[in-house]
Symmetry: C2
Subunit: 545 residues, 2 copies
Amino acid sequence: MKWWGWGDAEKSFPMEDKPELWPWIRRRLALPETRLRPPVARDRLVIPRPVVNAAFCEALEQGFAAARYTSDDDARLHRCFGKSYPNLLAARAGALPRATDMVVYPASHDEVERLVALAHEHDVCLIPFGGGTNIVGGIDPLASETRMIVTLDMRDMNRLVSVDPHSQVAVIQAGMRGPELEAALQAKGFSLGHFPDSFEFSTLGGWLATRSAGMQSDAYGRIEDMVLSMRMVTPRGTIETRPVPASSAGPDLNRMMCGSEGVLGVITEATMGVHPVPPHKDYRGFLFRSFPEGVAAIHACWRAGHVPSMIRLQDSNETELAAHMKAPAKGLAGFVQSLVKRHLKRRGYSAPCIMVVGFEGSAEQVRQERSATLPILKKFGGFSLGNSIGDTWSKDKYNIPYLRDYVMDRGVMCDVAETATTWADVVPLYDKTIAAVNARFAEDRGAGFIGCHISHSYETGACLYFTYAAAQQAGSEREQYYSYKNLITDVFMQNGATLTHHHAVGVEHKPWLEVEISPTGLRALSALKRELDPKSILNPGKLLG
Amino acid sequence: MKWWGWGDAEKSFPMEDKPELWPWIRRRLALPETRLRPPVARDRLVIPRPVVNAAFCEALEQGFAAARYTSDDDARLHRCFGKSYPNLLAARAGALPRATDMVVYPASHDEVERLVALAHEHDVCLIPFGGGTNIVGGIDPLASETRMIVTLDMRDMNRLVSVDPHSQVAVIQAGMRGPELEAALQAKGFSLGHFPDSFEFSTLGGWLATRSAGMQSDAYGRIEDMVLSMRMVTPRGTIETRPVPASSAGPDLNRMMCGSEGVLGVITEATMGVHPVPPHKDYRGFLFRSFPEGVAAIHACWRAGHVPSMIRLQDSNETELAAHMKAPAKGLAGFVQSLVKRHLKRRGYSAPCIMVVGFEGSAEQVRQERSATLPILKKFGGFSLGNSIGDTWSKDKYNIPYLRDYVMDRGVMCDVAETATTWADVVPLYDKTIAAVNARFAEDRGAGFIGCHISHSYETGACLYFTYAAAQQAGSEREQYYSYKNLITDVFMQNGATLTHHHAVGVEHKPWLEVEISPTGLRALSALKRELDPKSILNPGKLLG
């Protein structure tokens, strides 16, 4: 991955086929003339010299093959930052107040046990590292840390250990990345069905550690819903649960390990429920007259017991953004499109909201669910756009994070904020958040973008996922960002919603965790931390403390 | 409830209409002549004088109305035992080595907070008490406890606080019992859909504290799956989570409170997902040629994505027991039945296994699910018995626990053991358990009964629920019982299954908890206990320690 941005270094957001996008963003954010602000050049970066704990290094040398660890500058640089907006601000400016001091690549559960024991013995910090995609500061070495920091990159623990096709469970090593995990499972006819936005780079261990939710969580559940058992190495030994479908033997330790963000232990392996690869897929687009009508349609699907594998509703602002990502149709096609647009406008779709709906399963299941769902969508004004928009969305779904790099290159602040609340509060919370951010835009430069989509929904409520952008305030980029981040998070918390639906806590959400789980709840988690990691060597300063 | 047995003191197992049952049990267990061994008379019971912590009692007097607490002998007696077999052995013998010293009935969350604070201050033990139905020793005052023990009976915290019909969530006080909870919800058109065998007496708080699973968990999930938020009072303050559909803000504290069995805090209230009362119900019976074929049918339903609201398969032994609970048909009906029986026998149903299947929902949903499911059952040899058996089962479903009192009155050891494992291991584990217990019967008196049913199933596996019985060994009833209990539990644990699927840990399963969750896992739970309840006043000796 890029050290200064998202994804493959070779790859950038495909802007060539979207001639209208950048001009629209400029207008929308009232940006002054486009001025390129590229990241600092690699050769101008000064990577801090590593802190060395000699006794630890000596023990490492004796116990591990030389290929298993490195203090190489490039290896360290790539593990100094996650992908939060503040991470990228710092990386792009070449501000590296603290680097990780070493990278270790354990190859087995036993090696992780030996590493954690060594680190505990020598008071060396360990940061478990999967794909490096965390956007809440969950994998950053903290500037205040004076001890040696070792990033424990799980990339070599990437085996599909076993599949039991009759029980539909698979034992998977934590370092497996999305694509390799799906390829290995699909070769045996199965899928985990977990597709977060970070899928191309993130790992099973990262998903578990952050309680991730994928694009098809409506059908297959959140990552924690798929777990049968886990192994997690702590300085006090390994916690290991039994791979059983359900139990009432005390509090569920799987749910204590899920969401522990590397502060309680290093997840090395999990037994996960899997399902057959759905042979048929049908993705479709719909337009709604308003966000509340789209929300009502999703709600109605849940109430009818017919929920597509994926249902994703974008508000009118995000829909406008999406519309500008399309190449403009020319000639006859363009003429027909403009007629359709005029027709829709007359029928009340003047600021339409796009919904992408996906059905997956056997041909019969797809047919049944589709015929049950489409009348519900229609009832709430859903205007069918057919399959092409669904296919377009499916093709581009992992590209969006690259867009942030493009706009940051051009002086734009851009971030996301997500939460979940019960159905009765979904639209009110949406309204309040949009209003608060628009008011702040008005106070600031008078221009900015905030859009929202519903990415996941449940029987009792849904996730609201906001994207916001404005021109950067040169010289105070961080302060500007936090004024928006704090504003939005305060709106969530004051209205009873959750601090984070699927991005986890890291450092960015830490200030609100006590409000989220109550002071005594925080005290309980802190007690777990003290017991399992008494020297606080594991991912210090994240989630807790 | 009876202090010496199950359920209403006025009610006993309806044996009058089952003339074949007791003779069959006698034959099957090779019981000598029926000799009545009734429980000790109430007036021969000596209830130990209460341990009194004078400072606590004084503070209680000052802070609480007199109606909120009592040291009355009857009130204390009824809260000295749960309903485990060892509990009933002791109660029936009048062996009361330790009674609870006082019963308090808090009326609000605030009163629970004040009580827990007082108890913490004065080092007085608190045992949270719901319906008193626990069968693993989860609510017993322990003989070794020298401090004052107060049972905190939650019966007055029995309000449905609010229902949000749009989000389908309800805020419910923990002391609400099954029937009153369902009545209050159903008056508003909703149901929690949680119907454990103990439903008539047990409470929401008890269900949460023990991670209970109801008869319709296949459709509505286990109790922990229905929780949005909880309030739990600990000596360190109240843990309170947010009523949201999902979150990734650290480990899920709801799942830490669920299954905590009163040792971490007193659950006072929860926000639960509810669903509309299903307007249509259709319960049906089927016969299968063998238990493995029935298991294969359930498995196939899950694989096809068509799982009835309830699916319950009894092995041939339990089916034989159930058959002897029916009044024998006479005259023409009897003649026809015997013809059918002969016909079935010729077709391979010589030791048939009964399955009860329930469909619930709208008329259309019931019709759809039924027409999807029945061909699957048929494919595996399911022979339809029509609706009457389903209705009979539904009528009798809460009566079975009363049967234990009847047979204990007549010198029979009788208990249950339950576990869960993945599909590939369901039949092998069933075989091993049955073989081990039958071998023990052979070693002992050469006769005994063990049967099994599948009560709950999942994508990845199922629960096996065994019932076993033999003639009591007079004078060593407890030792006899534990020799079977330990045997069965060891078989579960040695074969990778879970210690308990829905009965929780209490004291009876404690010896195996470390094997279940690993030594480090147990250490983590113990750290929570020490932090939240540093003086170990909450339900001491249960689950942990």
